[in-house]
Each structure stands twice: as C-alpha cells, then as structure tokens.
C-alpha cells in the first residue's frame, strides 16, 4: 500500500511539473469555456426589443413583466424609422387610451410575438377595467430544457471534454514515454505488475478530473458567466471518475500502438476532437440533425455529456446516471481489455 502511495505521489509530481500538460489540462479547456461563455452570453437570454413612444399603465405593466425589452423614444417618427430600418421589429405608440403597434412585415415571427404580448396586456387591462373576475385563469412556469442558456450546456460539455482530453493524453503519453525511456522494461524487472503502476497514474488522472470539475464549475458560476447548478450537482462526481477511467483506457489503447510521443499526441487528437464536436461539447446535440444525433450515440463522451448536463443543470436525480455509467464502465472494460492485449513492453 505504501508502495502504491509512493508511486502515486511520484506520478503526481511528474504531472504538476509538466507545464505543457498543465496548460492542456486546465487553461486550454478554460479558454474555450471563457470565450464561448462570453460570445454566447446573451444568446437565448435575448428578449425582443421594441420601441415605445409615450407612457401609461400598459407600458408599466409590460415593463414590469419583462416579457419585452422596451426602448423609449420621444419622437414617433424616429421610432417608426427604427422599425423601417429593420433595427427593431416593432414600435408601440401610445396616445392616451389608444395603442398603435407599427411592425415590420419582414420579421414576422418577432412581430407576431410582439403583437401577441401587447394584445394580452391590453385584454388584461380591459378586463380589469370592467371589474369582473376573470373566468379562466392561466399560470405559466418555465421548464428548463432545450432552451438552456449557453453557459448551462457549455460547462458540462467542456468539463467532460477537458476530463476526456486529460485522461486520454495522460495515459497515452505516460505509456509511450515509459516505453521509449525504458521505464517499462525496468518495471518489468521489478516484482510489481504494470497494471498496478498504471493504476497509480490513473489515480492521478482521477484527482485531476475532480480539480478540473471544481475549477471549471467555479469559474462558470462567476456572475460574468452566470452558471446555475442544480441541487444534485454532486452526482457529477461519480460521473467524472467513471469518465476518467473510460478515457484512460482509451489512452492506453492509443499508447499501445503509438511509437513516439508525437504519434501518441496526434492519434489522441484524432480520436478526441471529432468525438468532442459530435458529442455536444460546444453546442447542444439536440440542435444537430437527427442522423448526427444517432451517430453521436456511439461515443462515450456523448453519454458522459448527457449525464453531466442532467445532473449539473437539469436537476435530474441519480436515475440519470444509470445509462451514462453503464456505457462508460462497459467502454472502459472493453477498451481496457483490448489495450492489455496489444500492450507492448518495449519498442
């Protein structure tokens, strides 16, 4: 046991002393998180803006509801010009009891939204003016789903991807460099199994994955990005660990074939990058064409992503872990077995 501890400590020291690895493990995925997080910050949160001329109870009600974003103009012509120029979809002009909506024919969807919302408020005000209680009531509640704010799907996606990259590269490069530097032959001459030595490296990868999780989520929760975690976020921890094991196994397979560190890097990239794109790291897969969604199901990263999304932001419970966990464990077993078959001690 102390042997395992010493080995793990050695692996850990080797890891944190390698600046390049640190960069690709932490800063590189964080760069994506920050850049995409900033670029897409307002997408989805986007409300329709309209021009408003004049004021009154309906305008106040609209402003309070937050259903539309109101841009006040004092001059009617200027407001209408904005609509004509296509800058705004509609202008609301209030003259006492009279409300006029001037809308752009070119943006029918938005105009319809505006008309519907304004109409609703006018009807409500009319009804209230009659003093009658409403015969039908209607309540609405937001369901967080396909319409997640970008940071809500970016964080789980980039976290899964970051963990996958660091586990695949960690395993592949360790194996290749040990083989090239004859460390594997030395290990072979010691009364330990290669598996136990690799396990200590796996332990380091698992620790790294947890630190990645804490860092990425912590940064995404800054007010600037505004990630909101669901109550069952801690279910992401077992998922991070299982993902590490699965992708570590994949890295061992890459490391078994690659002869040089360069080849291992290239091969790992070829495996990980397309998988990342198709698994919803940078955009939600539900927005992709159906055939692509089907294809993406063959990637373990897709399932890890789904699981992460479910437990981190969609508020699903432990049952959401079943499918991703089963797939990750199965993947780790199959790929790990193949890797152990093609494993080579020396060049």
């Amino acid at each position: 046991m102390t042997a395992f501890k010493t080995l793990s400590l050695a692996m850990f020291k080797g890891f944190i002393r390698d600046k390049v690895t640190l960069f690709f493990t932490f800063l590189f995925p964080l760069m994506f998180l920050v850049i995409f997080g900033l670029i897409l910050r307002d997408v989805g949160a986007d409300k329709t803006r309209i021009a408003v001329v004049g004021d009154g109870p309906i305008v106040s009600a609209l402003r309070e509801s937050g259903a539309l974003e109101l841009e006040s103009y004092s001059d009617e012509n200027a407001a209408v010009q904005k609509v004509k120029d296509g800058d705004l979809p509609a202008a609301l002009i209030i003259r006492g009891q009279q409300l006029d909506v001037r809308f752009a024919q070119s943006d029918q969807v938005k105009s319809a939204t505006v008309l519907g919302i304004v109409n609703g408020f006018v009807d409500k005000a009319n009804l209230a003016a009659t003093g009658q209680p409403p015969r039908f009531t209607f309540a609405s509640e937001k369901v967080e789903d396909a319409s997640l704010k970008p940071i809500q799907y970016l964080t789980p996606g980039i976290l899964s991807w970051g963990v996958a990259v660091s586990a695949v590269f960690g395993a592949a490069l360790t194996l290749v460099s040990w083989r090239r530097k004859q460390v594997l032959r030395r290990i072979r001459l010691a009364p330990v199994s290669a598996t136990s030595v690799l396990s200590s490296r796996l332990l380091v990868s698992a620790g790294v994955a947890l630190v990645q999780g804490a860092t990425f989520v912590g940064i995404a929760m800054l007010p600037l990005f505004g990630l909101k975690l669901s109550g069952s976020w801690w279910l992401a921890i077992p998922l991070l660990l299982l993902g590490t094991i699965a992708f570590f196994a994949l890295g061992m397979l890459v490391g078994a074939f690659a002869k040089t560190e360069e080849a291992a890097s290239a091969a790992a990239n070829i495996v990980v990058l397309p998988m990342a794109f198709l698994s919803g790291t940078f955009f939600p897969v539900d927005q992709a064409p159906a055939w692509l969604q089907t294809v993406s199901k063959i990637f373990p990263l897709r399932h890890m992503n789904d699981g992460m999304l479910d437990v981190l932001v969609r508020g699903k419970g432990i049952e959401a872990l079943l499918m991703p966990s089963a797939i990750l464990v199965g993947f780790a077993l199959v790929v790990g077995f193949i890797a152990s078959r093609v494993f080579k001690w020396e060049e």
Binding site: T2, A3, A190, P191
Partner: protein
C-alpha cells in the same frame, strides 16, 4: 565450483535477429560473490546476453539458470533478488534524483529513507533535489546504478556502467563497484574498457560477434598469451644493431622518437641496458588484454 553454488549458469544460449546471430552459442557460469566482466566491442552481443540472463529477452535456444531458477518467462520470485542497470538509462519523468530512487524503491517495497541513503553510496547526496534531466551524463549513470541497488539485490547486472564517464568519475565508480562486491554481491557487468576489466574483474569473458573467445582471470588470459614484453627507449641511446644483439631480444624497431625491443625474458635485457647506462626514456609494457584480443581476433581492439 558446483552449479548449485553458481549465481548464473548459461548453457549454449543463442539469439538471432533475422540473419544476424547476436548471441551465437554462449556458455559460462558465474560464482556467487564473483565480479564477472563481459568485454567486447560494439555489437559483440554483450547487452543481448545480459538481457537474456535478466529475463528481459527469450533466447532462441539454450538454457539460463539464475540463482537456480529460470528467468524466462518473467519470474516474479527472482526479481527482488536481481538488480539491473540497463544500458540506456531509464528514469521517470520530471523527478529529482532522490524521488527516482524512492520511486524505484517503492516498486520493491523499500522504504523512502533507505532509498534516499543510496545517494550517499554513489556520491550524489548533493544532487538529491536535482531533476534527473539536469544531471550530467556521469551523474545520471551513477543514479542509474543506485536505482539498480536500491532493493539490496544478491546479483547486480550493470550494462556499461562506466561508459561516458571522465577518468576521475570512472575511478570513483570502481570504488563503488568494489564496495558492492565486498558486501557479498555478485556482479555481472559489461564494458568496453580493457584496462578496467583487467583491474576490476575476477574473471573476464572476451566476446566478439556473438561468441565468447576466451574466459578466465585477466592474469591467466595474459599469461596464456605468451606475448612478448615491449621495452621502449629514447631514440639514439642505443643503435638498433646493438639492441638486436642483446641477449633475449627477439626483435627491435625504431621510429622517429623511440626504439622498441620485444622480449620474452625482460630481466637479462633490462640488466644489460642498465650496464650500458642506456635507460633514457625507459618504458616497459607487458602484454594486456588488448593483446589477447588482437591475438584472438586478428583485429586491433577498438572500443
């Protein structure tokens, strides 16, 4: 010596890489506590032989017994009892000298303190916290040897431990190797350096092209050669004709700076030279393993 007391027994071992016979019928035994050297030029098959004994390679044919057991396939029972320094040094990435030792020690269940103590033995205590890739070639070599010794093995295999060392470092390392032997360890080592093998080894196997050409103590090998002693004098102290006429001189050569006499009876030659007061620039060179190699292969020895 009986085979039971032998640390290593190698019987007619062969190993080919395609057409190339890297090891071509090698047999020898190494007694417990012996310092055994394998001497030979590049490509002689030294590393291959050593790695077959260590159990890193499978021989095509022949038999190897290491401490009475077969090292192939990987024999975990044997591993704690042997220490190996590979020809290419093998270290973990980014670890300091001390951490390398502790990590290799951990593979054998050796405590951290014991591992760190090994640095003293090879004179690297002041480099304990230096990362391995910042050590000089010689220091790395010594660290590599320390890593082979960290678990206190009974047999130590060292593949060219003194390669790439300056003369001072080489001598320091000789002291280390002698100290290991004094602790009762068996040492099997390879080298290019004839003089070193002559000084260090109890017995030497001279190897070339996959075969052992001769195997014995250095003294016996040289004596068995019946090679002449060369006496060199400054040119001009004696004419070549007079020199050839001296009792015991077999041959005399002269070049721009010196006169060299070959003799198998150096005593009368030296006293005759002393009588004539012709001892200026005197050098006496007896036969060495180098001559043994030349004699065996017909080739100059080039390390």
């Amino acid at each position: 010596m009986t085979e039971e007391r032998s640390a290593v027994v190698v019987r007619d071992v062969r190993k080919s890489y395609g057409e190339l016979k890297a090891v071509d019928g090698v047999s020898f035994t190494v007694a417990e506590g012996e310092f055994f050297g394998i001497l030979g030029p590049n490509g002689a098959g030294k590393t291959t032989t050593l790695e077959i004994i260590e159990g890193l390679r499978k021989p095509d044919s022949g038999e190897v017994r290491l401490l009475g057991e077969s090292p192939w396939p990987r024999n975990v029972k044997l591993l704690p009892r042997i220490g190996v320094q590979l020809q290419a040094s093998s270290f973990f990435e980014k670890l300091t000298a001390k951490e390398q030792l502790q990590t290799f020690g951990a593979l054998y269940g050796v405590s951290k303190g014991t591992a760190a103590d090994m640095l003293e033995l090879v004179g690297l205590a002041d480099k304990a916290n230096e990362q391995e890739n910042k050590l000089s070639g010689g220091q790395r070599q010594r660290l590599s040897i320390a890593c082979a010794l960290v678990h206190d093995p009974d047999i130590v295999f060292l593949d060219e431990p003194t390669a790439a060392l300056d003369p001072q470092a080489r001598r320091n390392l000789w002291d280390v190797l002698r100290a290991i032997q004094e602790r009762g360890k068996t040492i099997v080592y390879t080298t290019h350096y004839i003089d070193e093998a002559e000084i260090l080894c109890d017995r030497v196997a001279i190897m070339d092209e996959g075969r052992i050409l001769a195997l014995d103590t250095p003294a016996v090998l040289v004596r068995g050669l019946d090679a002449p002693t060369h006496v060199t004098l400054q040119k001009g102290v004696l004419s070549i004709v007079d020199a050839s006429a001296l009792d015991g001189v077999e041959e005399a050569h002269e070049n721009e700076v010196s006169l060299t006499l070959s003799t198998r009876r150096p005593a009368p030659v030296l006293s005759a030279l002393a009588e004539r007061g012709a001892l200026d620039g005197l050098q006496v060179r007896t036969a060495t393993l180098e001559d043994v190699f030349l004699n065996l292969t017909g080739r100059e020895y080039r390390a």
